[in-house]
Symmetry: C3
Subunit: 351 residues, 3 copies
């Protein structure tokens, strides 16, 4: 691909050789003379100096030496947009596959693609250009917006409503019944039917094999007409995350892999939760909160707070000593208190 | 729905206005004058006072003021039973879908429903009225009881036996091969075929994308004719739980999301394990044990014991100080001992 | 099955009664007089003494008393090989099922089996005798070697390359897009298309519902022509593991259930990672490292190091005291320092 073609597709200004043949993309460290890379800002100037990249995407004004350059105020985003030029995708479903089973009353917008063996139940509405890959299952009574991508064998249960440009990765389960049972009956735990659904706003992405449970009518409504598990606009959720019944997640929040949100967790906007963390039920993480990896949130988090609880692994004998000493901590506190009192008595005796 | 109709369906006594039109269900805090709520006991009396609920389900004798009331000794269970009246489900499979592939020798009980693209292999027996949703896969050599619900794309491997009224949520995998390899061969890890299966008793529920591994013949039999991974009657398992090969779980035990049970964990009756916890292999949790969230069980748990190990996340600088001080704990213990000895010497000198 | 038949199938020497009828397999503790067991070495001699096993597989030279015996230098592996003799599998797909949808340009080797409702997209190559179970989905642009087993509803995304004798368990997702977004755009997080794929070497096994994300072109190449998420020869991965974009895992490494590897984790050969552990992004675990269960790896691990970080759960009041004392640790360190200084002053005064 000629560099001029890349510039045109990205809609950016080219400085240097428009005829340069670009064969691929790479980070600054790896890129060769026929490859395009990017630099976010001047703090990577040293790396750029050493780089063999033939061309870079760089912010306006940043010196790129003798290299050809594409100018963008958002270089990393421009790099991301260049990926499909070099790695075209030939695996999108197109049209309605003859093996797709679509309920008679389902409404499909213009240009919707439905892959093989997809099942679409009653009362489903799907917006224009949304693509459903092979084996996706929509039980029924669900709404999907326009320009969504539903990957292979995603399951969407009833009473799920999904906005525009939402991406659901392979194996995600949306609207499964939450883990809610009544325990007042002598015959044992009895299921509470979870039929208050899930609401997912625009531009959300949900990772592979992630599960988002539906709420039930006894969950808090939080000022809305009905309770639901709710994901705000632009929420990004990674693989194997569990979102419990009745959770509410604010706009643009990011949740990394294997996080578990217990029921009715309330999370604000622009929160970041690193991998393998979890929340106790009914806690709140306010706007802008930042939760480290493998951290348990057991109490409310203030706006903008940065919370850590990761226990760093160490060499096993050192760890055994640390764990053994924990058990002696309450006793140690008492012993230090005794030493302090004795020292005070001595001081008083001397005075 | 008229309140009298709700009373009739739930089989409970109505006090107040039988003609009251109920439009929905909600918790006490949220319910409006046309909605039905519930109160479990007198400790929620204050909440009831403030509530705008038009009607409540309440235990006999509890004062509900000027409200219409349904009397039930199990109010929460009655509320749960009322859900389908207000949120009817139109998404159940009915009959055998023509795309279902059913082995010739499979035996299906009366009224079994099989959804589209379901695959049922050889030597499968399925009890009456069991419903299999779209894309469920039964490899073969498996038994399901009556009145089960198998959700979309559940996979059941060979040598799995399942009781009555069992619910398997979307994406669950039952009877996959456990993580067992022999390491005595110079050519590297060699798989042990896990063909001793899984036994699941009546009234069990298994969450979305949960995996229950099969046992192999070398696993302990625990007094049974053959080893197997075993789930007792009424066990409830949430989403994304991993049950390792050869685990045995007692009746009515509840296991929350993302818990991991290492191989051959033995769990008693009425145990409760909160989310993201895990067990070391071969440990035992005795009857009535209660395990907090994000807690690692590394040793046997006594009957009825309540075990915690969750590390509460704190502000990141405070956390850094705590972790740094751990490393100094063994040294600190020595320093305190030295101080105590010195103080004793002083005391002796003075005496 | 006659013991002589077992010996013949395993290719091992028989000592004792060749006509002994073996009805099953079991561990030494459980085996009865008609069952075959195994003993790895002399440290289990006591257990063997008490065992009722009618026959054992034992290393050459080890005394087995009055029992019939099969001699093997790898007794556990021989036992594993005997499993299919007693538990035959009748659930393998054979041939190409008529409902399988196979792209015209897909190339299938000799003896490939394709189960019902399998979807194989464009530009897929599959080696000889590989078996694809029901509902597997291959998007396209993927390569599988010979003698692989792909279980039910596995999803393989584009640009995945898989070696020979690889086993993918039910529900695994290979090559899903990694959790990578650019954050430099004012319109919010923007997806980086992850099109640098996944490379899986020979003899790898990947557990049920595990997810292996694809890399993107900006990931480190680590000396290879292109970046990719890479699993070396003989890697064994358990259920519900998350392997982030751009991870590289060395030969013969074993990773237990629910482990999470953050993006660009580099793991050497012969590493063992126990269940529920996790790594921070971009850390390295060198060859032979051993990571305990529920352990967070936040820094590079040296070759052969054994790292622990599991927090053992304890009785809840004891745990509350420990956690409370953590917060006082920095203060306690200061108090002990004060006591030490005061003691030194006293000593100086006395001198």
């Amino acid at each position: 691909v000629k560099l001029s073609v890349v510039a045109e597709r990205l809609g950016v200004v080219l400085e240097g050789d428009p005829h340069l043949e670009i064969t691929g993309l790479a980070g600054l460290e790896d890129a060769g003379p026929e490859e395009l890379s990017f630099i976010s800002g001047s703090r990577y100037a040293r790396v750029l100096e050493r780089s063999r990249a033939g061309a870079v995407i760089a912010p306006p004004g940043l010196a790129v030496e003798a290299r050809s350059c594409l100018r963008s105020s958002t270089p990393y985003s421009a790099f991301a947009q260049a990926v499909p030029l070099f790695f075209p995708s030939a695996t999108e479903p197109a049209g309605i596959h003859p093996t797709a089973l679509i309920a008679e009353d389902a409404e499909l917008g213009e240009g919707v693609s439905v892959g093989p063996y997809v099942v679409i139940g009653a009362c489903v509405r799907i917006g224009a250009r949304t693509r459903l890959h092979a084996h996706a299952v929509l039980y029924g009574q669900a709404t999907l917006g326009a320009d969504c991508v539903v990957h292979a064998r995603v399951v969407i249960h009833p009473r799920v409503s999904i906005g525009d440009r939402v991406v659901l990765h392979s194996g995600a389960v949306i609207g499964s019944e939450g883990f809610g049972f009544t325990l007042d009956s002598p015959s044992g735990a009895q299921r509470i039917p979870h039929r208050s659904g899930v609401e997912i706003a625009d531009d959300v992405e949900i990772g592979a094999n992630t599960t988002i449970d539906a709420a039930h009518p006894g969950h808090p409504r939080l000022g809305r007409p009905t309770p639901a598990t709710r994901l705000g606009r632009g929420v990004k959720i990674d693989n194997q995350v569990q979102v419990g019944h009745g959770c509410v997640i604010g706009d643009a929040t990011m949740i990394c892999a294997q996080v578990g949100l217990a029921g009715c967790t309330v999370i604000g906007r622009d929160v970041y939760i690193a991998g393998q963390s979890g929340t106790k039920g009914h806690v709140t993480i306010a706007d802008g909160g930042r939760i480290g990896g493998a951290t348990s949130i057991t109490a409310d988090v203030e706006p903008g707070a940065w919370i850590l609880g990761v226990v760093p692994g160490v060499e096993r004998r050192a760890w055994a000593r640390i764990v053994a000493s924990w058990k002696r901590l309450p006793e140690l506190l008492r012993r230090v208190r005794t030493l302090e009192e004795r020292a005070r008595e001595r001081d008083e005796e001397r005075a």
